[in-house]
Symmetry: C2
């Protein structure tokens, strides 16, 4: 099933699909060479937007929380990728401590944790769950929607090592994005692998660093394919020193909104695109689709309602928002069951292991879909995870479409790898 | 679909299945540690026999020729495994020269070559086919059953490098088992990877080395699981200096047949197995199920018909047979559509990527099925390549059954790795 695309707009994306398919061996080799120089994130998920004339990543998650949305057919790929990842990082690994998010009442999220546990158990690790929630003092059973259960346990820190009672892991895998800050219990661990590293968490991570790195990756890739990088790259600008509650810094924000809107307008003109440009204002740190605003005209910012200001001023775990990015909006012209849809691609190590469509019946095509009410539909390739088929008509083949999504998602993953190198506080500086 | 097993005999194999499932993380870690010390074959396939009371590999192929029998759903796993293999061996690889078997009129085999081409193309290599058949002087198109075609080209040797016209590969992948001997064109290649190495071909390889290595692996694994290695290991003895046409050496063969039959009888008694023991006599070198004989009593060898002697005296490509192995026969109690069936597991690098049942309606449960008239049915896990499900009733779950098959097949692959180390003519000797 290839979701319905507004036909008039499918031309450019079909050209991109065709070019990507024709260049498959070159693209795979290019990734292989990049991975010789750069370390892929342990796991990741990327939200894409397919506008018909443009395909771009809009969010790269380094603590993916939707493994439960992958179909059973995709899981062997995830296990195989997990094996490859473990083998590279710590082949002698025996015990894995998985540290999930605190929202233990969300049964979807618990299913994600259960799926991760299964994947890593089958990849050859003893997996147990440790929580950052200090109110949990005893092993606690949590019911799963399928009738099973998970047990989360309080963390035990002993000098340089983190574990559980009678459980000394060599590897700690975070599935908690650290929006609330870096807990002391995770700091200064010795002789244990902490994955992803602390600076991948939203306490330290910034979207502006990510999209700066993505711009670099998109330029390199566009050169390889001989195409305009804009077709896969959303333009953006960072804005700092904001205070939505007092209005401080809103003029600087307006200037950047204007700039990005104008640049987008020029690009639309160049390609003859009959759409109204818009930008998305997002907190530079943070995730979960909180504090996100769609703006079509810089003047709209003059008259922000109190409600909008409140909404924009805090994001997950109550962190104040003073830094944002203004990003070129990429409309999504994909529809599943008449609802606006965006593809989400899941990766483990350097491998695409699956994906799904996030759909939202109550949201518009220029709005953020990562919000309450979203639901998930397995991606095209799910039922029959087939290889791309060169020679098929562009846009007609689900495996071909998904291959292209996997390539763009891997570009975003590669950008995350660049980003984590640049922002690594422990990196040695060669001056 | 778990093939029908004669119920009275499913006890011991279900115990094995349960123990294998319970020990999954320990087993996967054990493999991981073994692969730190040993290099897996580039690709391999293993024929298994499930007797209900015993599960054993009976043939380990290092030039697997049935990738076309894998379902489309399995191919992404093969591509991912191929990526991992290439990345380890030569990440900068761009061109791959695939050298297939000469029997170009076998459309099943051509489909296998087409599938391999697809897998490696998608893994990021430019793949072309070069033939050892010196009668082919020009690029030659061969029709595929699905309407497509393959082009095979004459090899071009230039000093230390092998390639095609205008094609200089960094890696040469053999899908030709070299039964006819090592062609000079493959010898003394410099700065090119030749996979698998020449001593993996049947010109040099011996089954006795393989099963000696397998015995060692089976013992290690049985120790890990606390079980009798015989449950997964077919006993064997090599016999040399035979000449079936003159009868020379037949007395030595009879002695070994007697020995293995007696040992098997003792084991059957120990486990209360109500079967009549048999042995299989196979050429020590060679494949394709040629020159294979089932023997139930050493006396039967007194009166070999001329036809049997002729059949036993030559194997593939007309090589004379003077060395054989006498192997404990493992009856196959699996049935698909009422025909005798044996599972075949396909591996790429260290990963199980798929499998199928080889079935043969006209053969008995104690006979070799790798013969004209065999057909193929995708393995249980094919349609829904699901992860094993701990907790399910042993023998009732296809994914669990297939996980066990994958473990035993990987033991045989590990044995092949040991074997290739021991027999490597270029290995340094530390005395």
């Amino acid at each position: 099933m290839v979701p319905h695309l507004i036909t008039a707009l499918t031309g450019p994306i079909n050209e991109l699909e065709q070019r990507v398919l024709e260049s498959m061996p070159a693209i795979e080799r290019w990734f292989r060479l990049e991975w010789m120089e750069h370390t892929p994130p342990f796991y990741s998920s990327v939200d894409l937007r397919n506008a018909g004339f443009k395909l771009a990543p809009v969010d790269t998650n380094l603590f993916p929380g939707g493994f439960n949305n992958l179909t059973p057919e995709m899981l062997p790929l995830a296990v195989q990728a997990a094996m490859a990842a473990i083998e590279k990082i710590c082949p002698e690994a025996k015990n894995l401590l998985l540290v999930p998010e605190g929202h233990t009442r969300n049964s979807f999220y618990l299913s994600n944790v259960a799926t991760l546990t299964r994947i890593f158990t089958q990849a050859g690790l003893n997996v147990r769950l440790g929580t950052l929630d200090e109110s949990i003092k005893e092993p606690t059973a949590l019911a799963l929607p399928d009738g099973g259960q998970l047990t989360i346990e309080p963390l035990v820190r002993k000098r340089g090592r983190l574990g559980l009672k009678d459980f000394d892991p060599c590897t700690i895998l975070l599935n908690n994005d650290l929006s609330a800050g870096v807990p002391r219990v995770l700091e200064h661990l010795h002789e244990q692998y902490l994955l992803p590293p602390l600076h991948a968490g939203w306490a330290l991570r910034r979207k502006s660093n990510h999209f700066r790195a993505y711009e670099e990756v998109a330029k390199k890739f566009a050169k390889l394919l001989g195409m305009d990088p804009w077709l896969i790259n959303p333009m953006f600008a960072p804005v700092q020193g904001l205070d939505f509650s007092t209005g401080q810094g809103l003029d600087a924000l307006q200037t950047q909104v204007d700039t990005i809107l104008n640049k987008t307008r020029r690009k639309y003109k160049e390609y003859g695109i009959q759409e109204k440009p818009f930008v998305v204002v997002k907190p530079d740190a943070g995730t979960y689709g909180m504090g996100i605003m769609t703006v079509r005209d810089a003047k709209d910012l003059d008259e922000l309602s109190r409600r909008t200001r409140n909404k924009m001023s805090v994001c997950k775990d109550g962190q104040l928002v003073s830094e944002v990015i203004v990003q070129e909006g990429v409309v999504t012209h994909e529809r599943v069951h008449d609802a606006v849809a965006e593809p989400v691609v899941y990766m483990m190590d350097r491998y695409v292991v699956g994906g799904f469509y996030r759909i939202h019946a109550e949201r518009g095509e220029d709005e953020n879909l990562n919000a309450p009410g979203a639901s998930f539909v397995p991606l095209a390739f799910a039922q029959s995870s087939q290889l791309p088929r060169p020679g098929e008509k562009p846009g007609a083949s689900a495996p071909n479409r998904f291959y292209m999504y996997g390539v763009i998602a891997r570009l975003a993953m590669l950008a995350a790898s660049y980003e984590l190198e640049v922002t690594d506080p422990e990196a040695e500086v060669y001056a």
